[in-house]
């Protein structure tokens, strides 16, 4: 509010100082967790096929399900819920922090 920022262009990769920077950091962190567990795991299963680690991934069972099937079919949806909860808790926190900083009531 204090110093007028001239010519700021909204850009996900170059966020403004303050609330937006905090928000973008958590967004990138969540997207990292989302991408690695979804696509990274599939790549792992693919690369390990035919090796000892691969048969560990597909033979080891959890709830009577092979590990990779359990991870993809049951754990990943749960993981997405966890990511959303973490995101919301964090955004609630930074929103409250910046609202207080700005001395204004919450939203």
């Amino acid at each position: 509010m204090s110093q007028p920022e001239k010519n700021y262009q909204v850009n996900l990769l170059r966020p403004k100082q303050g609330h937006m920077r905090d928000e973008v950091l958590i967004i990138l962190a969540i997207l990292f967790g989302w991408g690695v567990c979804t696509f990274g795991f599939q790549l792992l299963v693919y690369l390990c096929r035919g090796t000892g680690a691969g048969s560990l991934l597909t033979r080891l069972t959890l709830f009577n399900l092979p590990l990779h099937f359990w991870f993809t079919g049951q754990f990943l949806p749960l993981w997405f819920i966890v990511l959303c909860v973490v995101f919301n808790l964090y955004v609630d926190r930074i929103t409250e922090y910046h609202s207080r900083k700005r001395d204004k009531s919450y939203e």
Binding site: V10, I30, T38, L43, V45, T58, L65, W70, P77
Partner: protein, 506 residues
């Protein structure tokens, strides 16, 4: 009464109950609650998101595709849940602060262009039509299953039933009670599954986790391995499909519009979490139907050839219930759940599509002086025209329910998602970029069916159900390049984005 008439009776009962509850709610709402009566908190908002989302693709298509493709089908489960993460972190609160909820309105406002708005409206209508074809296939299959008629007849009667339902609830002004709908849909999906698990002797209290032993039995006794990774498609196909469904989820117009009913940004965010949880409950269950179906099939010694399996796939949940000898009324409950999911999805999509025809195309482009009643007429006519187009396409559906639905997701992921993403997160994106991006997205989606014969290599890279893994980044690149080569958007929009959408706490 015999079994099938019990099923029909239960289905009719459920549909009628929605009208009755809607009518009661309507009279109560106008007396007691006023306009505020629709909001019921984060959990209620989540149930509304979930019931808006549940369609024939979730309740029939998912079980069908996993029955057919095993591990490969899990890409649908992941795609349709993981998309909500993208939606929540990248778009949900920003769209809300932007204040425009339908895709054409957002595009028209953000990019300041009537042409962009018209293209976005045409794309949303195309998405509605494709999505509805899949729903109609589901409705047709349930009708032909219940009444013992052939598919073409079933889908025709189904279309008549949907349109009359729309007309009746439109005339009575019945509100959609989405929380009740979610309850009915999920109970009618999970209770038969528990019954099934119990009957087959597996852990039935949580059949979502109890089907593991059935999977083991299947591979030990009958040598059918459901879980072999990448047996029915390559790693690229799996990831492309999964990614496409994810960006499609975050770009689907009727999903984006869901942030209306919740009063503030914080509640909107938390209701996405509840919505995702409610959706996941169904998606943890669907594979169980497929596994039980395969098991019962194997036990009866009938292993169908691939063509027959493909025909059976979309009704595998119902067939499994019948093979296991579930009582007729319970099969009816299952059918009623799937049917009401398909019904309400179709109703919502047809009405949204018709509103887009009347508002974004007729009113904004053709006749700016059209009266309220003339626009209403166009909207009503539009509903019928859309329903007729969908029926014609659904008479000979080109794929499984989940596959047809995936095409709608591919189109949304290739066009609407990049437009919203850059529109919110990159101030420099302008109307020329938006139009070029949408056209590129349409080409990416249509490239496999149109040019797949001539350039098979292209069809491999842009499969019709999963073109967005390459398509969405390509569209984003085109949008950035064209935007940078043309004049910047208005100063006013830049300030609005900076101050209102992103700068609310500076």
């Amino acid at each position: 009464m015999n079994d099938s008439s019990w099923s029909i009776f239960v289905v009719l009962l459920v549909l009628a109950s929605f009208i009755v509850v809607g009518l009661r709610q309507k009279s109560r709402e106008s007396q007691e609650y006023g306009f505020g009566g629709r909001y019921t908190g984060r959990i209620g908002g989540g149930a509304a998101i979930a019931s808006n989302w549940m369609s024939a693709a979730s309740l029939m298509g998912l079980a069908g595709i996993i029955y057919l493709q095993g591990y490969q089908g899990l890409a649908y489960v992941i795609g349709w849940t993981g998309g909500y993460v993208l939606l929540l972190v990248l778009l949900a609160s920003q769209i809300r602060r932007f204040g425009k909820f339908t895709a054409p309105e957002f595009v028209g406002e953000r990019y300041g262009s009537q042409a962009a708005r018209a293209i976005a409206a045409a794309i949303s209508i195309a998405i509605s039509i494709i999505y509805c074809v899949a729903q109609f296939k589901g409705i047709g299959l349930i009708f032909s299953f219940m009444f013992g008629i052939d598919y073409q007849q079933g889908v025709t009667y189904g279309a008549l039933a949907v349109v009359s339902y729309l007309v009746i609830s439109g005339m009575l002004g019945v509100p959609r009670n989405q929380q009740l709908q979610y309850l009915v849909i999920s109970v009618s999906f999970i209770v038969p599954l528990m019954w099934l698990a119990r009957k087959l002797g597996y852990f039935w209290l949580l059949p979502q986790f109890g089907y593991g032993r059935a999977l083991t039995d299947l591979s030990r006794q009958f040598n059918i391995d459901f879980t072999l990774p990448f047996a029915n498609g390559s790693l690229y196909q799996w990831c492309a499909l999964c990614f496409t469904l994810m960006v499609g989820t975050a770009g689907l117009p009727h999903v984006l519009s869901r942030f209306y009913t919740v009063p503030n940004v914080r509640d909107a965010r938390w209701s996405v979490v509840w919505g995702l949880f409610f959706i996941a409950l169904i998606y943890w269950s669907a594979p169980a139907f497929s596994v039980f179906g395969r098991l019962l099939e194997a036990r009866s010694g009938l292993i169908p050839d691939p063509a027959a399996a493909r025909d059976a796939a979309d009704v595998i949940a119902l067939k499994t219930a019948v093979w296991a000898g579930l009582p007729g009324w319970l099969v009816g409950v299952l059918a009623a759940g799937a049917l009401s999911a398909a019904f309400f999805t179709v109703a919502g999509l047809l009405m949204t599509g018709a509103a887009s025809i009347s508002h974004d195309i007729y009113y904004s482009m053709v006749n700016r002086s059209a009266s309220e009643s003339a626009r209403m007429q166009v909207a009503k006519g539009g509903t019928l025209v859309l329903a007729a187009i969908v029926l014609l396409l659904a008479l000979d559906p080109p794929g499984l329910i989940a596959e047809i639905t995936a095409v709608a997701f591919a189109l949304a992921g290739n066009t609407i998602f990049p437009l919203f993403l850059l529109g919110i997160w990159w101030g420099r994106a302008n109307r020329y970029g938006a139009i070029a991006g949408m056209l590129t997205g349409i080409v990416c989606t249509a490239i496999a069916p149109l040019c797949g014969g001539i350039f098979p290599q292209l069809a491999l890279l842009f499969p019709v159900t999963s073109s967005a893994l390459l398509g969405a980044p390509l569209v984003i690149a085109v949008m950035i390049a064209v935007s940078l080569a043309t004049p910047a958007p208005s100063e006013e929009m830049g300030r609005f984005l900076e101050k209102e959408v992103h700068g609310h706490l500076d």
